[in-house]
Each structure stands twice: as C-alpha cells, then as structure tokens.
C-alpha cells in the first residue's frame, strides 16, 4: 500500500507544504528493502485470498512454533475464505486451557472459533528460555510496526545468507546469531525460518522460499489490518461523495456571493 498511497497523499498535501520534507525522512534504516508489488496495495487493493490461505498454512506449520498472534481469533479466519465448518475444525485442532470449572480447576478443551490463536509459550520468559534469550515478537501487527511494512518482512525472510566478503572488518557475527542483509545491524537471533519444500501446499503451488515468504507476508498483512478492504471500499464512496458535495457547496457559495462580486 505504501508507494502509490504515499505519492497520492503527497499531492493531496501540496498545500500543507510543511509536511513534504517529513515523508522521506521517516525512512531511517540500515538498508532499504526493494519495493515489491502486493495485491493489497493501492486504492482498490484486496488481499489475495489464495495467497493469504497459503500464508496461514506457513504461519501455522512454521512461524507458530515460536511466534504468537495474540490479537487474532480463529473466528477471524472466516475473512480469508474459510467457511464456518473449516474454521471450527481448524480451532478444534488446538488444545485450549480453560476454566476454572466448578471445582476450581483449569482444564483442557478443544479450541473454538471464539478462542484467540493458541500461543506457543505460556509467557515471555518461557519464550526467551527456549530461544537463546531472544524473544520471538508477536506477529499480529508486525507489518504495520516496521518501516516499509510488507517489503521489509519479505526482505527479512529471504535475506539470510553468509556474511558477505565486503562486510566491514570489525563486523563479527556473535555466537548463536545469523546474518541477515535486511535486519538492522545484520545480526538476527532467528535462524533462517524457511527452506524450500518445507510445507506442502494443498493447491499444488510450489513451496519455495520466495513463494512461502510472499504468502506469509500476505497473511500477516491481513492480520495487521483486517479492516483494510472494508476501509478502502468505504473510502472510495466517501471520497466520491465528498467531492460531489464540495462541488455542490461551491455552487451554493457562487450563487450566494453573486451580488457581492
């Protein structure tokens, strides 16, 4: 959504010239990730449902081992094109701690659509203990929480590799860290999460790393802004309405002022 919207908004704001210098200045980053085309960009962009469903599969089978998605409920998956029975079955595949019951005890029961996504660790300390002291971030709004949003997350997922030969001499990879071309500082605790053929897509799409990265970024972009499609759809109507209204108000103004000019 960024580039065209940015251009559009800059034009709209030409009057508010004060802002113009601010826009590029926000991009204080080590490396600017290359811009890619996403289905959800632009005035009429929507989430590619097939890609988002595949991305959910990647999240479920890969990311969910460490990363929580604490603001998302299973019921939300309906928006990705899963029907009620599929959502129920998906939720039931998880074990949820509920209670206390009449005896004052917590108990386990199968997940329901009204449950939040099950978290991989009971608390942050447990998450750190299992991950060399690093805390896997919550992914609910991660796409909104990073400069360059989806481009950055994609670049990060596909940006692993060996330390390049032209790296500065004082660059030293700390033990347990991994080189990533796009992570600030280039040292990231998360090991390369994706490898070719890691998941088996039901729709037969070849699951190579770039494909899985694209899919999971689409899914996470939806998770960060589930309201986006409704927002843009309403926005088109609102803006068109306001333009017509402004035109009418201008006509009224002209008519009222005719005897003054």
């Amino acid at each position: 959504m960024r580039a065209p919207v940015r251009t559009m908004a800059s034009v709209a704001l030409a009057a508010a010239f004060l802002l113009a210098p601010v826009l590029p200045a926000r991009a204080i980053e080590d490396v600017v990730p290359p811009h890619r085309h996403w289905s959800f960009q632009g005035f009429f962009g929507t989430f590619d449902r097939a890609a988002a469903q595949r991305g959910f599969q990647v999240y479920k089978e890969v990311c969910a081992a460490c990363h929580q998605l604490r603001f998302i409920y299973y019921r939300d998956l309906g928006a990705l094109g899963f029907n009620d029975d599929e959502v129920k079955a998906l939720a039931a595949g998880y074990e949820v701690t509920a209670g206390p019951n009449d005896q004052g005890e917590m108990f386990k029961r199968p997940g329901q659509p009204s449950d939040r996504f099950v978290t991989p660790f009971p608390n942050d300390q447990a998450a750190r203990a299992a991950n060399n002291g690093a805390l896997p971030v919550d992914l609910s709004v991660v796409v909104k929480a990073r400069e360059h949003g989806p481009d950055y997350v994609y670049a990060l997922l596909t940006g692993y590799g060996d330390v390049p030969k032209d790296a500065p001499k004082d660059f030293k990879l700390q033990p347990g860290m991994n080189y990533n071309a796009f992570f600030p500082g280039h040292q990231i605790a998360m090991p390369p999460p994706l490898s070719d053929g890691q998941v088996a897509y039901a729709d037969g799409t070849k699951a190579d790393v770039p494909q899985m990265a694209r899919d999971v970024v689409t899914f996470l972009s939806w998770a960060a802004e589930p309201e986006m499609e409704a927002r843009k759809e309403m926005g088109v109507k609102v803006v068109l309405f306001l333009i017509v209204l402004s035109g009418l108000l201008y006509a009224v103004k002209r008519k009222v002022w005719r005897d003054v000019h």
């Binding site: 908004a9 601010v22 926000r26 604490r70 603001f71 609910s140 108000l249």
Partner: protein, 422 residues
Amino acid sequence: MTGAPAMLDNKLVKWVDQRLPIFTMMQHSAIDYPTPKNLSYWWNFGSLAGFMLVVMIVSGVFLAMHYTPHVDYAFASVERIMRDVNYGWLIRYIHMNGASMFFIAVYIHLFRGMYYGSYKAPRELLWWLGIVILLLMMATAFMGYVLPWGQMSFWGATVITNLFSAIPFVGNWIVTLLWGGFSVDNPTLNRFYSLHYLLPFVIVGVVGAHIWALHTTKSNNPLGIDIKGPQDTIPFHPYYTAKDMFGVGVFMVVYALFVFFAPNLLGDPANYIPANPLQTPAHIVPEWYFLPYYAILRATPDNFIGSWMGFTLVPAKLAGVILMFGSILLLFVLPWLDTSRVRSARFRPIYKWVFWLFVICCAALTWAGSQPPEGPALWVARLGTFYYFFHLIVLMPLIGWFERPLALPKSIAEPVLSGGKA
C-alpha cells in the same frame, strides 16, 4: 441588518428568548455579524480548526468508551478497537489523523495571521488567546499520543517529561509530579488520560473567548485596513457560512484520503510495537507537528551559553528547553516586536518576502527535527533556530522602521467595487 430576528415570530422561540436571549445572540453573532467582504480563502482555516475541534471531541468520546488506561491493557484495548469494535478502526483513524488535520488548519491559520498582521492593535488579546489555544493543543496532542502505549508513546513521554528536569531547583520535583512516580509508568498513563480528556474542554472555553474577542474587534482582512462602514461588510450568514461550508467540504476530501487510504502515513511504525521500558528505539521522533520545536530543542551545542573558563552558566539541555518554549512564548510579544503600522504584508514590500523566509525556516526545522541530530541536519537545525529568533527579535522591529509601505486603499469597499486587487 439588525433589529428583531425573524425567528422571534415563532411563539416558543420568543418565549425562550425573553427569558434567555440565546436566539437574539445567535442572530447577532452568527447571522448579522458584519464581516469584511473581501476575506480570501486563507480565512477559512479558523472555521476549519473549529470543525476539527468538534470532530476530535466527538471521536474521542467514543474512543474513550472502549479504551483502557492501564499499561498492561492500553495497547491491546486499542487493537480491540481496531478489530472488534464496530467501526472502531474508522473512529480511531478519524481521531488519529484528525490531530494532524487540526494542526494543519491551525498552522495555516497562524501563518495567515502573521502575513496579514492580524495580531496588531486592536487584536492583541485575540492573538494571545490563539497562542494559548496552540499551547493547550500541543499538551493535549502530546498526552493523546501517549495513550496507545506503543514504543513512541512511552519514549516520547520519557523524553518530553524529562525536559522539565532541566529547570533549576524544582525540575526533578516537577518531573516526579508529572510521572506520579519515579519513571513513566501506570500513574503517568492514568493522569495523561485524565488530562487528555479534560484539556479539550478547556480549549473549547478559550475558543469561546477567542471568538468573543474576534467579534469585538471584528475580523482583519487581506487589506489589513479597518472597517469604515456598512459598505465594507456583509453579514456572516449566508455569505461566510456558505464559504466556510465549501471549505469544510474540500478539507474533508483531504482528510478522508488520509483516513481511508493512508491512515498510518503520518505516524511512526514504532508505535505499533508495545511499549518496552527496557528497549530504547534507535530514533525517538515526535509526531510531525512537533518536529520544528524538537529541532530547536536539540540544536544547542554543549558549550552554548557561558561555557567558558570551566564555568557553565546555562547547560545545553536547559538552553534547548528555554529556546523551545521561547519559540512559542515569543509569539506573545509579536504585536510589539512588529513596529510597522501597516497590517497586511500586501503593502509591505520587504516584509512580504521575509515572511516567506520565515515559513521556509519553519519547514526546514520540521525536516531537521525528523533527522538524528548530526551532520547537515544538525546544522540546518542550528541555522533554522538562529533565523527563527533573528526574524522575530531583530527583523520584525527593524523592517518596521526602515520599510516604506505602499499606499493603503481608502476603504475595503473601494477596491472591491473597482473589481481590482489593491
């Protein structure tokens, strides 16, 4: 245009009006109010600011019904508003971008006042009330930005509240009072929430006084000359109500483009990371409308004032704080710093250009404030800070003395009737 309002023909209206003359007042202040007939579209931004104040209060009241002011739940409650409250995303984006739109309107309103000399006699108090509104808006916006309890909320609050520690003797005491403890924490969030709800209504009150003063001195106008008689004015309604409504329409188009298509463009992505007192963001940057002041704050070198012979008279931090607050407080004396008797820059051949230097200076400071204080950005900040004060303290009095203003038109009606610009 005066006399008994037509609406008093209605018996009920008349009954009320005889006991509380609210309808007579409306007739007097919103309908008959004589307004210069030559106001340009730059005069729309006052009503636009008023419109934004209403939008902010209404959207804010609804957000407050769903928000939880607690460090453990604030971030999550905002996400709940975005996801599960009916049209919560719409209300929040209206409120969030509304702050920016409010400042855009107010800044243009302020620059308009500076260009046309609206602060000069007899409108000094009107101008003062405007600056009080600006200061209240800044406090309100700052505290509102803390409420979602993201990384920039927390660290912005930490940086700004810490500024008060630069005040000699009582600084640390004030900071503890602001925090309600010994760091930015739950008590800070709670009092900020309370004040964020309170201050907008204080603003409403001061806006009332601002309009009262306006209606006493009457509006300035692009020619900057006094109203000489009824031929110079038109009633506020329907002329300016119609013109203001058109302004609101256009303004809302821009506003809607932000809300629906770029709701996070003006925000910092880091505020979608929950506040973490143990992790300082790489760059702590305030919202765009605070950037010029932020640049001024960070422009002072360590050895700025009186750091000689091993004796520091004013530490750099205090100097920065003084300059930052001074940059706004100085506006209070602008009516007396400006020695020219001519109000409108249209008839001031030198000030006309110098004004735009001031605008460019503010834009440059805005840019510098968004950058880390180093390299060229730091020098832009220092140069901009210097020019900001040089402009107000030195140029304004000097130009007033030396400039030969152009001949002023005899009246507002004359150039309007002759159909040409003065």
